[in-house]
Symmetry: C2
Subunit: 384 residues, 2 copies
């Protein structure tokens, strides 16, 4: 089967943005079409990944709205929602549309508009994805993160500072990402002394509330050169679900969805963890970067924190993680994040990452929905 190529990519400025979700989506869409020099009506399929435009803005039907705004008619459109991994699910759907032969040219746009709502309101909308058995006790994703972080530090004798160093590293990377919400470094003391949110996690252990969008253009690899000189291919992609009730997990420090989704992706790509040159992980909370780096097989269980301490995951380390700045510094517009992760890997594999550029022929993006309730892992390689 022909592999699926990514022949164009874009992301908007992430942060606090004016306007409606549809305007943000159209912005990334137009920029992405421009990178490949095509028009909206060249598209066969157009997917929008977005969690909650209805809940945040009272606006539904955003996929049709954007098809209109991009003059993409009569392209088939649909919205893909998989909570905070909507972007990864959008990548999965767009990939399937090309891999199935249904579309020879698919645009995916992921986006979310959130900052016009208070942090409490946004957190509450997101918490509505949890199981009612936990939700009714006041559980939110930050509270799960705090509980999990405490358990991890206890189980693996990890110092509290190792979590803070994830934030320090990713903020440092974000300085070189002109689209990041925060383009500024933070030092260890700032993280360690920031206000407690969900003990032991503090303000700087959390990603912000963000507006933004990102887009990808996909086609069969056999025709990729029609659209771009440099491109990337998706050589493996897998999605998997973990328990919806978080307390039912046998070991809260193991993300089953990461393990299962990456197993599918590695097998499809014919690659293993040691073959990956660069990765974007879903650091919605600092603790998640450890759990994912272990679940993906980059490091042994309970040793992800050591890699950060030792600089292995720094930009100039052996396995750079979150060269984009991650969700931590780049921001986390729910439906955009999984798309923006793949955007970063695309930039790295096509040698267009500017000051963030690392030496990479393969890359991996891991997008997490809920508190690991659903995970999509995408493995990419540089095109020929």
């Amino acid at each position: 089967m022909d592999r699926v190529a990514i022949v164009g990519a874009s992301m908007t400025q992430f942060g606090q943005r004016e306007g409606w979700i549809r305007e943000l989506l159209a912005e990334a869409g137009r920029d992405c079409l421009a990178t490949a020099g095509i028009d909206g009506d060249d598209l066969e399929h157009l997917y929008v990944s977005n969690m909650a435009s209805g809940e945040f803005e009272g606006q539904t039907g955003v996929a049709n709205a954007v098809a209109h705004d991009l003059d993409a008619l009569p392209a088939y459109t649909a919205r893909i929602d998989q909570t905070s991994s909507s972007g990864g699910a959008g990548v999965h759907s767009a990939w399937q549309s090309v891999a199935s032969g249904a579309s020879d040219l698919t645009l995916l746009i992921g986006g979310e508009k959130m900052t016009h709502r208070s942090t409490a309101e946004a957190t509450d909308v997101i918490a509505s994805l949890t199981h009612p058995a936990e939700y009714k006790h006041g559980v939110t994703l930050p509270s799960f993160a705090g509980l999990t972080a405490r358990r991890y530090l206890h189980e693996y004798d990890a110092p509290r500072e190792s979590l803070a160093k994830v934030a320090v590293k990713n903020h440092k990377n974000g300085v070189d990402n002109p689209h990041a919400q925060f383009q500024k470094e933070v030092d260890l003391d700032t993280v360690m002394e920031s206000p407690i949110v969900a003990d032991p996690l503090r303000l700087y252990d959390f990603c912000p509330i963000t507006d933004g969008s990102a887009a990808l253009l996909m086609c069969p690899e056999s025709v990729a050169s029609e659209y771009a000189d440099e491109y990337a291919v998706i050589s493996g992609i897998g999605g998997a679900t973990d328990t919806h009730v978080v307390h039912e997990r046998a070991d809260p420090t193991v993300m089953g969805g990461v393990v299962d989704s990456s197993t599918i992706a590695y097998e499809q790509a014919g690659l293993g963890p040691n073959d990956i040159d660069v990765a974007e992980l879903h650091d919605m909370f600092t603790i998640l970067e450890f759990l994912q780096s272990e679940g993906l097989g980059f490091f042994e269980q309970g040793e992800g924190w050591k890699a950060v301490e030792e600089g292995v995951t720094d930009r100039d380390g052996e396995l750079p993680i979150n060269t984009s700045g991650g969700l931590k510094s780049k921001g986390h517009p729910l439906g955009a994040s999984g798309v923006a992760q793949v955007y970063e890997i695309y930039k790295q594999l096509t040698g267009t990452a500017g000051p963030r550029q690392v030496d990479a022929e393969t890359g991996l993006a891991c997008n997490v929905g809920g508190f690991g309730n659903c995970v999509i892992t995408t493995i990419m390689e540089a095109g020929q």
Copy 2:
């Protein structure tokens, strides 16, 4: 390429239901798994088509919730939203998941829980899919339907009664559908004398607000016999978008999305309109049955009303339309409707439609999002 087979199908009682959306979804899912004698953890992918669980119930993450309820872990899950055509978009996604080779066993469950909200509230949530340029003037889908019906009657010298006869026919069919919301006949006078909603359309020209769900199990045709003796195959499926701003359409009596989506589906199936033996159309409003039957090429433009007058689309006619009772009598739980249309065609093609059974080797389902903003047409054939 191996065609995609439908090897199991179910639908719940449609109507006013107790419980949450996730319970309705799980009910159809369990019934569908049972028809094929498999367990949840046999699934590779699980899609949920649903427009607005967040807006209607404050519940998001329903795909993960249902994967949990069906013990389907670690199956990959996502929610597909394409407004009132979410069900058809779910069929499209589930089909792509198998056709791409990503999944060898996919369950799709479509559902919506609406009746706990008032008709005005539900209509307003649905209206949020329209373009802001029209929405701000108070436009709703029923108002578009009234305007379009008036134009159609004027353009094609159709009698008002022809619209009412769609309701009479579909209610008659619904009597034999034990899952239909209304299992009762209505006569022409009842329709013609019911309260005006959007002139010239009256109460009985509209589908009701409904709770319900429906499910389909799909696999490659090559392994279909492992799951079922009788099955159906999807031989063609296409989706297409029309203008998001309804007043921009050159001819309001032509549904461009129906024309474009069916063109794709017919070509893929190697069939034409004359080859179709039975069809389920999206009669959210009676006028839409005319427009679709013309857009699909069953009848010449402006002549769909004559077919109804002449009994061509009756259950014992030459081309039975909406043997299930249609959205009109069966009900219209947004995310379920497109799935339930395919369920009905599956029942007809596998000879299991009971008192509704017609003689059919091929069938077509046409699911409409918004006011034709997006349309998905699915063509099916009896399996061998």
